[in-house]
Symmetry: C2
Subunit: 648 residues, 2 copies
C-alpha cells in the first residue's frame, strides 16, 4: 500500500504498538539533542539511572539558551555540561556555536533517522527528512539510555504546495498563513507532511522555518522529503555522503489535507500576542516601530540574514529603531562575514549579537513596554520577550528589514525596488573542531557529576502503601508550568538545583505553598481545575513539587505532557468520577487512599476517603507501563529496576 513518508519513518523506528492514530507507539531513537537550560537535569537523570554511556549517536549537548552570564551561574552550568558530556559520551557544543536546531542540521542531521530533543522546536529537523520529536527531559534521557520514546500515534496532515513564492515573500509567510488557517492548536496530535511541486523552490533552511513553527500549531512534528534540496544542503557542508533520497509513495492517503498556492501568498504578520493572530502586513502597515529583530530557530537560514543585509545595504536604519541581528550559528555568522553581508548589516546600523537563542527566550534585547517589536522568532506570547507589557509581532526578515528602514511597519513590496536575489554559497564555512568530542570510555569508575550548583537529583521513594495527606493547594483552570516553576533570569540559573528552585514553586499563585509543603510531614495533595500543567514541557514543574512532598494531583483535566511528567516523577495524576466532589476538596482537607498500588491495578477507579469518613471516587487513565513507573516512584527507579533485572 502506498505510504506517506511519515508512516515510512515511523515504521522504520517502530519498537511496539500499532500505527493507528491515538494508540501509544514506542519508537527507537537514533540521535539526541539537548539544550542547556533543560540539559543539566537530563545529565543528572542519566547519572541517577546509572547510565555510564549513552547509546544514541550522535548525542549533542548545545549551549544556546543561557548565554548572558550576568553572574557566574551560567558559566558554572556550561562547565557542568561539558564535564557531563565527557563522562557520558555526549558531544559538547559550547556557547557561541549557535542554536541547537540549525547547528544540528548543519553537522549531524541525516535523512531517515529519528531525533529526540528536550526542546519543543526539535521538529525543525524534519526539513532534512528526519523524524524529529521534542519531549520532556526525562523522556530524552530514557531514549539516550536506549529505551524507546513513547508517543501517541499522530494523524498525518498532507500539505500540498504548488507554485513559487513571489518576490518579497518567503517561508515565514508560508507558515504564518498556516497559523492563520489552523490556529495554535490546529495540528494537535498531527504530523504535518509537506509535498507537491512547490517544494522545488524551498531550500532546506526555508523548510526549517516551516517545520520549526509546526510546534506553534501544536503538531507532533513536521516532515519534508529528502530530495535534491537536501542533497544540495548537505553538499555545501561537506556531507553529501549522508544524503539518502526519501519521499512518500505516489497515491498515498493522508488523514487530513491542506493546500497552498505559494504564488498567491503575500507578506504576513502575527500581531501581539499569539502566533496565530495573523493578518497581512498591508493591514498592519504604518504602525510605529521600536525594534526589528532577526534571528532564532524561527528564521535561522543564511538567506534570511543575507536578504536583510541586501535590503539595508548602503542605507541607515530609521533613527531610534534598534535592528537586532542574532546569528543562528557559527557557520551562518562566519559565512555572512566571508560574503560581505555582515559588513552591510553593521554599516547600516544593525546591532550584531552573539550566535544563540538570545532575545527569543527573553535573554536580552527586551523592548520597551508597549513599543512594537517586529521579530522573526517563533513565538510572541505575552512577556516572553522579557518585558511584561510587550508588543511583539512575528514576520519575515524581509518585512523586519524594510520596516527598520522606514521606521513603521512596512510591506517590503512597498520599497519600490527589485527584490534581492540570495544564492546560498555552494560552500559554507565548516569546522567540526568547534565541538568537543567525548573521549573513548575507560574502565575506571567515573567520578560523580553533581556539584554545589548542580546537586544530584533527590531520591524518590516508591509509591506509598497508604496515602494520607492534606490538600495544600487548590487552584483554578489552565494553570501553566510557568505558574508552577517560573523561568526568567532570576530563577532559570537555579533550575539545575531542585532544592534551590523549590522556594519559587507556585510563587505567582500562592507564595506560601513551598513553605507549607516543606513543613508538612505527611506529604500533600494539589487540587486543580481543567487543563492543569499546560504550556512549556519543563519537567521540573513535576519534579520539584514531588520533591516538596506532592503525592497526587486531583484535577478536572490535565495537559498531556505535564500528565506524563507527573507519572515520570511518581506523582499520581487523578481526575474525579463525580465533578460535584470538587467542592469537597478544600484546602487542608485530609485525603486518604488505601493501598493505591493495588487499586491502580484493579481498574480505572481509585477510592479515597475524606477525614469525615465519606468516600470520593477518583479515576486514572494510566497504561501498564505508566502504572509500573508510578509504583516504582518514577522513571529513574523503574529503569534502574529494569536494568538490574536485565543484569541477572
Amino acid at each position: 500500500m502506498a505510504q506517506t513518508l511519515t508512516h515510512k519513518l515511523i515504521a522504520a523506528h517502530l519498537v511496539s504498538g500499532q500505527m493507528i492514530p491515538g494508540e501509544e507507539v514506542a519508537l527507537r531513537i537514533d540521535q539526541a539533542l539537548l539544550q542547556d537550560v533543560l540539559g543539566t537535569l537530563v545529565m543528572l537523570e542519566l547519572e541517577a539511572m546509572g547510565v555510564e554511556r549513552v547509546v544514541t549517536s550522535p548525542s549533542v549537548q548545545y549551549v544556546d539558551h543561557a548565554l548572558v552570564q550576568q553572574d557566574g551561574l551560567n558559566a558554572e552550568a556550561h562547565l557542568f555540561l561539558e564535564r557531563a558530556c565527557q563522562r557520558l559520551g555526549v558531544i559538547y557544543s559550547g556557547p557561541g556555536n549557535g542554536i541547537s536546531h540549525p547547528v544540528h542540521m548543519e553537522y549531524f542531521g541525516r535523512p531517515g533517522e529519528s531525533l529526540a530533543g528536550c526542546d519543543s522546536h526539535t521538529p525543525a529537523a524534519g526539513a532534512l527528512g528526519m523524524l524529529a520529536l521534542g519531549a520532556g527531559g526525562i523522556e530524552i534521557a530514557q531514549a539516550m539510555a536506549g529505551e524507546p520514546l513513547y508517543i501517541t500515534m499522530p494523524r498525518v496532515m498532507g500539505i500540498y504546495l504548488e507554485g513559487a513564492l513571489p518576490d518579497w515573500v518567503s517561508a515565514r509567510d508560508v507558515v504564518l498563513e498556516l497559523l492563520r488557517r489552523h490556529g495554535v492548536a490546529g495540528a494537535t496530535n498531527c504530523i504535518l507532511e509537506y509535498h507537491g511541486p512547490g517544494l522545488a523552490a524551498l531550500s532546506v533552511m526555508d523548510r526549517h522555518v516551516i517545520a520549526n513553527m509546526g510546534t506553534e500549531m501544536g503538531a507532533t512534528s513536521s516532515v519534508f522529503p529528502a530530495d535534491e534540496a537536501v542533497r544540495t544542503f548537505l553538499k555545501a557542508r561537506g556531507r553529501e555522503a549522508d544524503f539518502r533520497a526519501l519521499s512518500s509513495d505516489a497515491g498515498c492517503r493522508y488523514d487530513l489535507t491542506d493546500h497552498i498556492d505559494l504564488a498567491a501568498l503575500e507578506p504576513m504578520i502575527a500581531r501581539p500576542s499569539s502566533p496565530d493572530n495573523v493578518v497581512t502586513v498591508r493591514e498592519a502597515a504604518g504602525e510605529p516601530l521600536y525594534q526589528a529583530y532577526i534571528g532564532s530557530s524561527g528564521s535561522p537560514g543564511f538567506r534570511d540574514f543575507a536578504i536583510a543585509a541586501d535590503i539595508v545595504r548602503g542605507q541607515m536604519v530609521h533613527p531610534g529603531v534598534s535592528l537586532d541581528i542574532n546569528p543562528s550559528s557559527r557557520q551562518v555568522l562566519a559565512t555572512l562575514a566571508r560574503e560581505g553581508y555582515l559588513e552591510a548589516l553593521v554599516s547600516a546600523g544593525a546591532r550584531l549579537h552573539q550566535a544563540g537563542c538570545n532575545g527569543c527566550i527573553g535573554m536580552g534585547q527586551a523592548p520597551a513596554a508597549g513599543r512594537n517589536s517586529l521579530r522573526t522568532v517563533p513565538r510572541n506570547f505575552p512577556g516572553r520577550s522579557g518585558t511584561l507589557e510587550d508588543s511583539v509581532f512575528l514576520c519575515s526578515a524581509e518585512t523586519a528589514a524594510a520596516s527598520a528602514l522606514a521606521g513603521v511597519i512596512t510591506d517590503p513590496r512597498m520599497l519600490g525596488r527589485p527584490a534581492p536575489r540570495i544564492d546560498e554559497p555552494s560552500e559554507m564555512v565548516v569546522d567540526p573542531r568547534m565541538f568537543v568530542a567525548p573521549p573513548e570510555p575507560d574502565t575506571q569508575r567515573p567520578v560523580m557529576l553533581a556539584t554545589t550548583h548542580t546537586p544530584a537529583l533527590p531520591m524518590l521513594a516508591p509509591l506509598s502503601a497508604r496515602i494520607e495527606a492534606p490538600v495544600l493547594l487548590v487552584v483554578g483552570d489552565n494553570i501553566s508550568t510557568d505558574d508552577i516553576m517560573p523561568a526568567g533570569s532570576r530563577v532559570l540559573p537555579l533550575w539545575s538545583d531542585v532544592s534551590a528552585s523549590a522556594a519559587f514553586t507556585f510563587e505567582a499563585v500562592d507564595k506560601g505553598y513551598a513553605q507549607r509543603a516543606q513543613k508538612s510531614q505527611l506529604g500533600h495533595i494539589i487540587v486543580a481545575g481543567k487543563n492543569y500543567g499546560q504550556g512549556s514541557s519543563r519537567e521540573n514543574a513535576a519534579l520539584v513539587p514531588r520533591y516538596l512532598g506532592l503525592e497526587a494531583v486531583i484535577a478536572k483535566s490535565f495537559a498531556r505532557i505535564h500528565w506524563q511528567n507527573l507519572v515520570s516523577f511518581g506523582v499520581l495524576p487523578l481526575t474525579l468520577c463525580d465533578k460535584n466532589d470538587h467542592q469537597r476538596l478544600v484546602e487542608s482537607a485530609s485525603v486518604t487512599i488505601e493501598a493505591p498500588g493495588e487499586q491502580l491495578e484493579q481498574g480505572e477507579n481509585i477510592k479515597a476517603r475524606l477525614a469525615d469518613g465519606t468516600a470520593v471516587m477518583l479515576q486514572h487513565q494510566l497504561s501498564a507501563r505508566q502504572r509500573a513507573i508510578l509504583k516504582a516512584g518514577g522513571v529513574i527507579n523503574w529503569l534502574k529496576m529494569k536494568r538490574e533485572e536485565g543484569a541477572h
Copy 2:
C-alpha cells in the same frame, strides 16, 4: 618660557585660577561626553537647572553600558535619553554604535579642544592631543550649561618614550609596566604627558590604550602630542581637516619624570584583583584558562582585534575556552568584517558580542567563580566581572589570543611563529548617519523630560537655619560609593529614579538605614571613619542619601570626588577638630548646629551640640564657591539663582 603641552592646553582653557599645582583652576569646556548609566541623571539635572540648550559642542550621549535589556527598563532609559537629546541639543549615539571613548575619537575628537565626560575613562581622548577630563555627572551638566569645570591644578609627569616595541609587545604592555612601577594611586593629581621618539611607532589607538589606563593610576588625565599619527588617524576617518599639530616646547620642564625604553619591554599581565598587580606573562605562564576576553575602552583599536584574528586564524580555540570578542565600535566592527578579520575570529571559535562596554562593567560574560579570565579591559577589581569570586587578569590582545589557543596562560612569543603585522586600513568604514542629531531649537516651550521611569529630580531645600538631627548611621573606614549605592543588574536600571533606588541605599552595610531615614522627621546625620566615599564617582551616592534627609556627614576624612558630590547636593561634609569626639557620636545621638550658614562664613570651625548640651567642634575646608552652593541647597539651586541674577 618653554611649556609642556599640558600647560598649553590648560592655559588655552583657563577661566580663573592659577596654574600652580594644588590650586583650584576653572576650565572652559568645549565638548561633552555622556554615557547612559549616568547620563539620565545629567539630563534631569540640566532640566532642573532650567537649561534649554547645552552650549558644549558637540555634546554626545552614548548608550554603551546598559545594553543587556533583560527587561524593558534598559530600553526605557534609551528612549528617555534619545528624547532628552532632542530637547537639549545633544547628539544621540544609540546602542550598537559602540563605546563612548573610541567612538568619540573616531567622529568628534579634535586636537587642542577640551572634553569633559561623566565617565572615568574620558581621558583616553588625550591620545588626540585633547585635554580630556572625567568628572561627576553634575559637574558635566554644569559644563554643558556653559559653566567652567573646576579641577585641582595637577602636576605634570613627563614620560619619555624611546625605542620601538618588540614583536608580540603592544601598548597594553606599556601601560601595565607603568602600573607596575607607579601603582593604582601613583599618578593622583597628575597629568601624564607622553613625549619622545618612541611615540613615532604608536598609533592613536595605541595611545588611547595608554591614556585610558592612566585612570587606573589615579591620573587627572593623560596627554599625547597631536603629530603625524593623529593626522593619519583623522584622515582614515575623512576628518583630516580637524587636524592641528600640537606638542610641548623643546626644553620644557616637567614636575615629575619617567622613562620607558619600549624595546626593553616584554608581555605583561596584571594578576587578580588589582590593575597594579603586574608581573611578566612569563611568570604567570601555564596557569589554566576559562576565558579570553578582548575589547573595551582598554583595548579598542582595530589592530587589537585584527592581531588576535591573525593569531587564531585557521586554528580553533582550546576546547572549553570562551574567547569573547567585544567590538569597541561600529566602525571597528564593520572594518574588521570588510577586511576578513571577523571571519577568521568566528571561524576559530570566538564568541562575537555586540559593540559596547559589556562584560567590562559586569554586563554579561561573567566567568565561573575561581576560573581564570584573561581580559584586555582596564580594571580587574574583585567582582567587577559580575562574579563574586572572580579571578580576572589584565593583558594584551596578543597574550589573550595566544592563551585562548593554548588553554593556559601563554607568553605570545612562545607561539614560535612570526608576529602578525597589522596595518590599519587607510580608510575605515565611516557613516555619521548612525548618530541622531538634535533638531534646531524652536521657540515652543519644550515638554517635560521626566517619565515614570525617570521622574524629575527631587527639589532640594536650601541649608536649614538650624540643624537638629539624629545620627542614623555610624560606619567605619573606607566606605565606598558602591557601599552607599550599589550597581549591578538589579539596581542599575533604577539609578535614574531617585525614589526607587532609595530603598537600596547602604543595603550591604545596614539594611535598616533607608527605612529609618524615611521615618525620621528631622533629617539625619551620618558619622563615618576615614576615606568616606572612595571609589566610583557616582553622584547618586550623595544625591539619594540627601533625598532621604541626610544633612551632614561627619567623617574622619573624605574621598575627594564624593566630598565634592556631597557639596553639589547640599550635604555638609565635616571633620572633627578633636578625633576623640568620634566616640561620642553614637547612633541615635542628637546633634544640633545653630545657624550653619553663618558659621560656614565665619571660618573653618563649626560648633555643634549634643543632647546633653556638650559641644563638639567640627571643621570644613570649603571654598567660597562651595559654601555658596551648600547654602543654596546644592548646585542646581545655586545655578538657577545665578542665572536668574544674570537675567536681571
